[in-house]
C-alpha cells in the first residue's frame, strides 16, 4: 500500500444556496453536485453554476452517459438531466444508510456509510450483486481506468483510497488535510478526482497519483 497527502489542485464554491455538498459526478462537460434540495451542474473551467434540477439529493450522484442517478432518502432516482424529470426509482441497498454512488460496467456502485461496504447493484432492479468490505466509513465512490476509488470520513478524519475491487484491500491512500472532508467523489476520467467537501459547500479537485495509472 502507498500512502501520501492528497494534492488539492483547485477549489470550487461554496456555491450560492448550497449549504452542503453530497454526491458529485461528471458528465464530460459539467460537474454535478447533490445540494440537498437540488442537483446543480457547474462548469469546471470557471466554477459557474449552469444548471439546477429540482430533485431531492441527499447523498451520492452518478452519470451513466445519459442519465443522472441520485440518492435521496432511501431510494435511488434516475434523472433525465435535460428535463430534470425523475424517470424511475429503485430502493437503495443500505436502506437510507447509503452514501456514495458511481456507475461503471453496467452496474451502480453504492457506498454504505456506516456499514463500511460498497455494494454493486443492478441499476434496473436495485438487486445487490455483490458487496466489497471496507475498513472505514465509506463516502464517495468512483471508477476510473479500472481502478475503484472511494472516500472515507470518520471521526473528523477523511482520506481517499484505491482498493482492490475483489478483496477490498487498500492499495493507495491519499490523506486529506485536517479539517477537510470528502463526501461525494467522481473522476474526470483523467488525472482529476472531484471531491465534495460536505458542509464547507466546496468541491475540491484532487490529483490522482500517476503511479497508480496503469
Amino acid at each position: 500500500m502507498t500512502r501520501a497527502a492528497a494534492e488539492i489542485i483547485r477549489e470550487y464554491g461554496p456555491f450560492e444556496g448550497v449549504e452542503q455538498v453530497g454526491g458529485v459526478t461528471y458528465d464530460g462537460r459539467q460537474v454535478w453536485i447533490a445540494a440537498g434540495g437540488s442537483i446543480k451542474g457547474f462548469d469546471p473551467a470557471n466554477g459557474d453554476v449552469k444548471r439546477s434540477l429540482d430533485v431531492p439529493a441527499h447523498a451520492g450522484t452518478a452519470f451513466d452517459g445519459k442519465h443522472l442517478y441520485q440518492i435521496a432518502e432511501a431510494r435511488i432516482q434516475k434523472v433525465d438531466p435535460d428535463s430534470g424529470e425523475v424517470v424511475s426509482t429503485i430502493p437503495a441497498p443500505a436502506g437510507g444508510g447509503d452514501s456514495g454512488l458511481a456507475w461503471a460496467e453496467g452496474s451502480l456502485w453504492v457506498g454504505a456509510y456506516r456499514d463500511r461496504k460498497i455494494h454493486q447493484i443492478n441499476p434496473d432492479t436495485g438487486q445487490i450483486l455483490r458487496s466489497i468490505p471496507c475498513t472505514r466509513f465509506v463516502t464517495g465512490v468512483t471508477w476510473v481506468d479500472g481502478e475503484l476509488w472511494h472516500g472515507t470520513w470518520e471521526d473528523d478524519v477523511s482520506d481517499i483510497r484505491r482498493i482492490d475491487p475483489d478483496t477490498g484491500e487498500v492499495l493507495d491512500q491519499l490523506d486529506m488535510p485536517a479539517g477537510t472532508g470528502v463526501s461525494g467523489m467522481e473522476s474526470d476520467g483523467n488525472e482529476t478526482l472531484y471531491c465534495g467537501g460536505g458542509r464547507s459547500g466546496k468541491v475540491r479537485a484532487i490529483r490522482r497519483p500517476k503511479r497508480s495509472r496503469g
Binding site: Q20, H58, I71, G96, G97, Y113, R114, D155, G179
Partner: protein
C-alpha cells in the same frame, strides 16, 4: 455521509422535527441519536431529548470530538430552554473551544450566544454586554443572528440607548426575513413597539405627561433631579442612587417630589410611606428618623426642609423635580420596578424589598409571568425572577446546525 441522516438534518433545518423523526426514528447510530434528540427538544420533550443527546455523545466515541461538542451545545441549549439551573457551563465552554479549534465557526458562535443568553436570563447583564461586544455575529445563521440582534436591542433598551436599539432591530428585521420563522417577526414587532409606546408617565408639579423611551433617555441626560419609580432610583445626570431595597425612603421621596415645590403634611407622608396608618406620635418620631436618612442619601442632589405642617423637597440645581412612573400603575408596578435593574430576584427578596408579604409578591409574579413581563428560572427555593431583556422567543430552541458528516 448517509442519505437519510442528510434528509433528516435538512428536515430539522426546515423546522420539521416530525419529518426528521420519520427518517431516523428506528436508528440507533450516533448521528441518528443526536438528530432524534434535537427533534425531541424541538417538540418540547426535554427529558427525552437530553437522554438521547447524552447517549449520542457517548456513542460517538472519544475521537469524534466535533460531534460530541455539538451534542454538548444542544444539551446546554435544552437546559436553557428548560430554565434548568444545573447548567453545564463548563461543558459548553469546552465544546465551544473545540468547535473554534476545528473551524466550525457557525456552531462556535452559536455556543457563545448561548452563554450570553444564559447570562441575560440570570440577570448578569454587564457580563452579558461585555461578551456581546466580544462576539463576532457574522457566522451565525439567520435565525440565531436575529435572536442575537434582539438581545442587543433588549440590552440597549434597558440602558435607554434608543438609537442603538433601533438599529439592532433594523438588522434583526433583515435577518429574520432570511430565517423565514414567522415568530421572529412577531418578536421584533413587539420590541419595536416598545420604542414608540409610552414608556413612562412624568409628573411635575402635579401635572402629568406620557413620555416615549427616547424622551426618557433625553430626560436622563439632563441634569434634572428625577425620582424614578420605574426603576426605583433617584438620579441626576450620571449620579444615581438605587433605592430598590429602601421602600419607605423611596415612598417619602416620591411623595415629596410629586408635591414640590409645595410642602407635604406629616399625616400625608405617614399615610404614604407607612401603609396608610393613622398618624400618631410614634409615627411622627419614625418619620423624623426616616426623613433624616433620606436627607443623607440625597445630599448634593436636593435638600429637605421642615415646614410648619411637614416637609418640602428642594432640588439643588433645577427647581423642578420630576417623578417618573409606569404609564399605568397597578399593584404589580413595584415588582416590575424592582426587576427593572435586570438582576435576578427571589420572591422572598422581593417581599423584603417591597415590604409586602411573600404571598402577595408571588401572586403578582405569577400574574406578570402569564403576560410575559417576567420570567423565572430554577425551581423551589432556588427559583429566581427577572424581567426578560429580549422577548421570550429569545430563549426558544434553535439548536446547533447539524450536518450528516460528523
Amino acid at each position: 455521509m448517509d442519505s437519510l441522516i442528510t434528509a433528516a438534518a435538512q428536515a430539522l433545518a426546515a423546522g420539521d422535527p416530525l419529518g426528521a423523526l420519520n427518517r431516523v426514528a428506528l436508528r440507533d447510530d450516533p448521528p441518528a441519536l443526536a438528530l432524534r434528540g434535537i427533534a425531541m427538544a424541538r417538540l418540547g420533550d426535554f427529558v427525552r431529548a437530553k437522554a438521547l443527546l447524552r447517549q449520542a455523545a457517548r456513542a460517538f466515541g472519544a475521537k469524534a470530538t466535533m460531534a460530541r461538542a455539538r451534542c454538548a451545545v444542544a444539551e446546554a441549549e435544552i437546559a436553557l430552554a428548560a430554565r434548568d439551573l444545573t447548567w453545564p457551563t463548563k461543558a459548553l465552554a469546552a465544546a465551544r473551544e473545540t468547535l473554534e479549534r476545528h473551524g466550525d465557526r457557525t456552531n462556535a458562535a452559536y455556543a457563545r450566544s448561548l452563554e450570553i443568553r444564559r447570562l441575560v436570563l440570570i440577570g448578569h447583564l454587564d457580563e452579558a454586554e461585555r461578551r456581546l461586544a466580544d462576539l463576532d455575529p457574522s457566522p451565525l445563521l439567520p435565525a440565531a443572528r436575529t435572536i442575537y440582534e434582539l438581545i442587543v436591542a433588549g440590552l440597549a433598551l434597558r440602558r435607554l440607548q434608543t438609537k442603538a436599539a433601533r438599529s439592532a432591530l433594523e438588522r434583526a428585521t433583515h435577518t429574520a426575513r432570511q430565517a423565514r420563522i414567522p415568530e421572529l417577526h412577531a418578536e421584533i414587532e413587539r420590541a419595536s413597539a416598545a420604542l414608540s409606546a409610552p414608556a413612562a408617565r412624568m409628573i411635575v408639579r402635579g401635572g402629568e405627561r406620557l413620555l416615549q423611551l427616547d424622551e426618557v433617555e433625553a430626560l436622563f441626560r439632563s441634569d434634572r433631579l428625577i425620582v424614578d419609580a420605574c426603576r426605583l432610583a433617584l438620579r441626576q445626570g450620571s449620579h444615581v442612587v438605587p433605592m430598590a431595597r429602601r421602600p419607605v425612603l423611596f415612598a417619602l421621596a416620591r411623595r415629596l417630589a410629586e408635591r414640590a415645590p409645595d410642602d407635604v403634611s406629616r399625616g400625608d407622608l405617614i399615610a404614604h410611606a407607612f401603609r396608610g396608618k393613622e398618624a400618631d406620635e410614634s409615627h411622627r418620631a419614625r418619620l423624623r428618623v426616616e426623613i433624616g436618612r433620606l436627607r443623607q442619601l440625597i445630599s448634593g442632589m436636593a435638600a429637605i426642609s421642615a415646614t410648619r405642617d411637614g416637609f418640602v423637597l428642594s432640588p439643588c440645581r433645577d427647581r423642578n423635580v420630576a417623578v417618573l412612573a409606569q404609564p399605568a400603575e397597578d399593584e404589580d408596578a413595584a415588582v416590575l420596578a424592582c426587576l427593572a435593574d435586570g438582576e435576578a430576584w427571589s420572591s422572598s427578596g422581593l417581599a423584603v424589598a417591597l415590604g409586602a408579604s411573600q404571598r402577595t409578591v408571588q401572586r403578582g409574579l405569577d400574574a406578570l409571568a402569564l403576560s410575559g413581563k417576567v420570567q423565572s428560572f430554577g425551581r423551589g427555593r432556588a427559583q429566581r425572577w427577572t424581567c426578560p431583556v429580549a422577548p421570550e422567543f429569545a430563549t426558544a430552541l434553535l439548536l446547533p446546525a447539524w450536518s450528516s458528516l460528523d
